[in-house]
């Protein structure tokens, strides 16, 4: 393959350059976000507070890390050490640092991948397209896990393509760890990971090597993935008492109760455009019998495919990282095709190829940078409900007073992951996180006290909180032991009925 010949002549740039570029980009992203006054989003707040509880040795911290596939442990575990690195005087949330670092890493990885393939100077323009994409930046600025997901996706996608192309062990290892960590970010990417594993398996099967070699390749590629899964199950068993606790929302709750992904219409068109672009790259790769290009484009298309599957299961609200990942995937596919154009021809044909590539890049740039929706929308594209919690929390002291008016000996169990964001600055001992709420245990532990349950409206990710699959329809109908008390923003308060124990 022409691309491979060129690869041989490409020297890696100094390590210092890559690390330096990464740090500079991270600082720029972080500083811009702070300058524009972006707030930490709900996800960032939740993960920050899980880390705080974890370090304090609280059970809620441990439960928060592993108890749901919708809140994967890896982003939280990365925020944990980042908190140590940040000087306290900065009072900067660690999730912002992590998002900026992973956002910058996405860009550096893209640049490296395109350079290794030989995409020429156009790579800088492609990278710029991603760097200026407002949706991407918004996720970086709000402490979301989406930049981490896109970064790991770029790593896995590039590695698996390079593996198909060159069969270097190092690429297989990067793919193995990239996909394992991707699984650790949560449920969203599992469909894509499955597709990637299938590509590796089919590629091995197609090569007609010995069974032992196929097993060895699959073992090296899949062991980190299997280990991550096993570890998650083990942790669930140790902390939650049920190895399948994290996936129960999938097994028991079934399709999600709906709730749409709140995106401007123009952005949908952008994603559709990116999918068409990747589809076209697939056609071009098929025509040139470029196996690595086909693999890359297929896995790129697997992203909207997985999003479609989730939409079919009424979990459309959780597809934002999948759709965002389409952006770097499209850049990789385009870059790979450009490299083929540059390397497969010489002389006048090469110049013509370069011009064609340039036209393609310039044509796709507005699509990559979301310029169209930017032009159409009146305000910034804010996909993350960053101020949600701030808008809701003013009623929390009122709720405290409301409870104390009735009894000074009360306990309010706040259900679900958003409780970490809701109770972030709440020192009142009457509130307690409840990720694994159990009526009988609560009654036993707090015998004699008046107990309340605060449940979030079952929409989007909140619908997957354990309280909703343990007590179906509790928000609407209450439970057999839970009586409706009052509404507080998107939350509903229930009082738990306690039978008098005979003495």
């Amino acid at each position: 393959m022409g691309c491979e010949n060129k690869l041989m002549n490409l020297k890696r740039e100094p390590l210092l350059w890559r690390w330096g570029l990464w740090l500079v980009l991270a600082v720029v992203i972080l500083a811009t976000g702070l300058y524009l006054g972006r707030d930490v989003g709900t996800e960032g707040l939740v993960r920050e507070n899980i880390c705080r509880d974890l370090l304090a040795g609280h059970t809620s911290g441990r439960q928060g890390v592993i108890s749901s596939v919708w809140w994967g442990p890896f982003p939280t575990l990365v925020i944990l050490p980042a908190g140590f690195l940040l000087p306290a005087a900065l009072s900067l949330p660690a999730c912002l640092l992590v998002s900026a670092l992973f956002g910058a890493a996405t860009l550096v990885l893209l640049e490296q991948a395109l350079r290794m393939w030989g995409a020429g100077r156009w790579r800088w323009l492609l990278m710029l397209g991603v760097a200026l994409n407002p949706t991407f930046l918004e996720h970086c600025w709000t402490g979301s896990s989406a930049p981490m997901i896109t970064c790991l996706l770029v790593l896995s996608l590039y590695s698996v393509t390079a593996w198909v192309q060159k069969r270097r062990l190092l690429d297989l290892i990067w793919f193995a760890f990239g996909s394992a960590l991707l699984l650790g970010t949560g449920y969203e990417m599992s469909g894509w990971i499955l597709a990637a594993v299938c590509v590796v398996a089919i590629e091995e099967w197609r090569r007609q090597v010995t069974g032992a070699e196929i097993r060895a390749v699959l073992l090296v590629a899949l062991l980190p993935l299997a280990y991550t899964t096993a570890l998650w199950l083990l942790m669930c068993w140790l902390i939650m008492g049920d190895p399948l606790y994290a996936v129960k929302s999938l097994l028991v709750a079934g399709p999600g109760p709906g709730g749409a992904l709140v995106l401007p219409d123009a952005l949908w068109w952008c994603y559709a455009g990116l999918a068409v672009l990747v589809g076209w790259m697939l056609v071009l790769a098929l025509r040139k019998h470029d196996r690595s290009g086909v693999c890359l484009a297929l896995l790129g298309l697997a992203l909207p495919g997985a999003a479609g599957l989730m939409a079919w299961r009424e979990q459309l609200w959780d597809t934002a990282p999948l759709l965002l990942s389409l952006l770097p995937a499209a850049v990789l596919a385009l870059g790979h095709w450009l490299a083929t154009l540059e390397t497969n021809a010489e002389g006048a044909a090469a110049r013509c190829g370069r011009r064609t590539g340039g036209v393609w890049v310039l044509a796709c740039l507005p699509l990559l940078a979301d310029f169209v929706p930017l032009a159409l929308s009146e305000g910034p594209l804010r996909t993350s409900p960053s101020s949600l919690i701030e808008q809701q929390t003013p009623w929390l002291p009122d709720l405290g007073r409301h409870i104390r008016l009735q009894t000074p000996f009360a306990k309010v169990f706040v259900c679900g992951f958003e409780s970490f964001a809701l109770l972030q600055n709440q020192a009142s001992p009457i509130f307690e996180h409840a990720l694994d709420f159990n009526f009988d245990k609560a009654r036993h532990d707090y015998y004699g006290q008046v107990l309340y349950l605060l449940v979030h409206r079952p929409e989007q990710r909140n619908a997957m909180d354990s309280i909703h699959w343990k007590s179906r329809n509790i928000y609407v109908q209450g439970g057999k032991d839970a009586l409706y008390d009052s509404d507080w923003g998107d939350w509903r308060l229930f009082e738990l009925i306690q039978a008098t124990r005979s003495r």
Binding site: L55, A212, R215, A216, L238
Partner: protein, 471 residues
């Protein structure tokens, strides 16, 4: 027919020259008085602290241990990353070898120390005869102990090919391989020199690669270490696990160390030297039971360098536990000796090696040995917690320490298992990749040997537990 060298000559007359001229470089005194006092003072302070503040002392101990576990795990992964860099090994292509002319090749000395290895003689002579090197430029010495009648008889029974000769090592203490090598070094007249074990089967073109490697590496490189691996990896479970370990060590860790310009503890055989420089370094320390590791450090201290050569020598993997344990005991005991010898004057060591290599030495020789001793304690704590959920244990691991400990337990150990798999994969031992998953059981044996070595270091520091071959 034996053609014996009986009369030593030159500076290296005495195989114990190193210990006589530079006693500070030798393990003849295993632990100096100053070191003993420091160790005893350290133990006393630890005991006093444990008596005064037992819980705090235990927490501090756990904190320090876990910190080093994290450092070690990260270090190993970084080495693997280095091992795939371009300068990790000297790779000689077949076209380069084809361009070499016999007339230009220097005399190459090969030394094979043998002791009670009658059964290996034929194979050894056959495999050395097959080396792709002009016979007239080979200087092969079979180093036989004077009282080893069976091996001497086996050698006498064979007509040695041209280039072979026998050197008799006089009976004296200590009865170690490095002492025999020092005797042989005195007779070696090749420009380069290599050590092989009796059961070794080097690749045919290894010597030519080494000659080319030295010319390419530059004058500061006086030692090239070949990769070692086994020709019997599938004999039983023991050899499979041993192969996984060796593949990770020689194919990943050592090339990584070489690329990082770190100290390289030499492997037991297939070390190629520039003979003159080796003599300047006074050869091997006859009192060190891992003389190769010690020499690797001394090479760096003298300002020279060791690099990895992309060629393999095939050895026999120890297949029986009753031989594997003593062999590993000796290796770990030798690492303890080496560490203590070079840490007699830590500041001097740091100034000679530089800070980076000094830290490499601490991790590669010091901590890896200490880890084999510490592991059982932490396995025990982990088992206690998993089985009985003893809550008081959790107070030994406050927040950040717990986080580091969990990372080591789940990520660090997995990384070490995975390294074994990658080692097998790189060696194209496809069927052994899966066996690397069983490596944790192998670690238990290593820790057992570690403690055995620790006690033997004090009771019998120079004891050389010979590994039997041809099993």
């Amino acid at each position: 027919m034996e053609q014996e060298n009986l009369k030593p000559a030159g500076v290296m007359d005495d195989p114990l020259t190193l210990s006589r001229l530079r006693p500070e470089w030798s393990a003849r005194v295993p632990i100096t008085r100053a070191q003993r006092m420091v160790l005893m003072a350290g133990c006393a302070v630890l005991l006093l602290m444990a008596a005064w503040q037992p819980w705090l002392t235990a927490r501090a101990f756990v904190l320090v241990s876990i910190f080093f576990y994290v450092v070690h795990a990260v270090y190993k992964l970084v080495l693997v990353r280095f091992s795939v860099s371009e300068n990790s090994e000297i790779v000689i292509g077949t076209d380069e070898l084809a361009g070499m002319h016999d007339d230009d090749l220097p005399v190459y000395s090969i030394m094979v120390p043998m002791y009670h290895e009658r059964e290996s003689v034929k194979h050894l002579i056959l495999s050395l005869s097959q080396l792709d090197y002009p016979a007239g430029k080979l200087d092969i010495q079979l180093l036989l102990e004077a009282d080893d009648q069976e091996t001497r008889a086996a050698v006498t029974a064979i007509t040695l090919p041209p280039g072979f000769r026998v050197t008799i090592v006089p009976v004296s203490l200590p009865r170690t391989k490095p002492k025999a090598c020092n005797v042989g070094l005195d007779f070696a007249h090749g420009q380069y020199l290599v050590i092989y074990d009796a059961e070794d089967r080097p690749e045919r073109d290894q010597l030519k690669k080494a000659v080319m490697g030295f010319s390419r590496a530059g004058p500061e490189t006086i030692c090239l270490q070949s990769r070692l691996n086994f020709y019997n990896p599938r004999q039983n479970l023991m050899t499979r696990l041993f192969t996984a370990e060796y593949s990770a060590w020689f194919d990943l860790s050592l090339p990584g160390l070489s690329a990082a310009h770190a100290v390289i503890p030499l492997g037991g055989t297939s070390n190629h030297f520039v003979t003159r420089n080796l003599k300047d370094l006074l050869g091997w320390d006859a009192f060190n039971v891992t003389e190769d590791c010690d020499l690797g450090i001394r090479i760096q201290r003298a300002g020279y360098r060791t690099r990895m050569l992309h060629t393999t020598t095939w050895e026999e993997a120890c297949s029986l536990l009753r031989f594997w344990i003593p062999q590993r005991t000796r290796w770990i005991k030798g690492y303890i000796q080496t560490y203590l010898v070079h840490m007699r004057h830590p500041l001097q060591l740091m100034s000679e090696l530089g800070v980076a290599k000094f830290l490499h030495f601490q991790v590669v020789v010091g901590y890896s040995t200490l880890a084999t001793l510490l592991n059982p304690l932490f396995w025990f704590l982990a088992i206690l917690w998993f089985l009985f959920r003893i809550e008081s244990l959790t107070s030994l691991f406050p927040g950040p320490v717990f986080a580091m400990g969990v990372t080591c337990l789940f990520a660090g150990n997995f990384a070490f298992v995975y390294l074994g798999m990658i080692g097998c994969y790189r060696r194209r031992y496809w069927d052994l990749v899966g066996y690397a998953l069983l490596v944790p059981f192998y670690w238990i044996l290593m820790s057992y040997s570690g403690w055995r070595a620790f006690f033997q270091f004090f009771s019998d520091p120079f004891k050389w537990e010979k590994t039997s071959h041809g099993l």
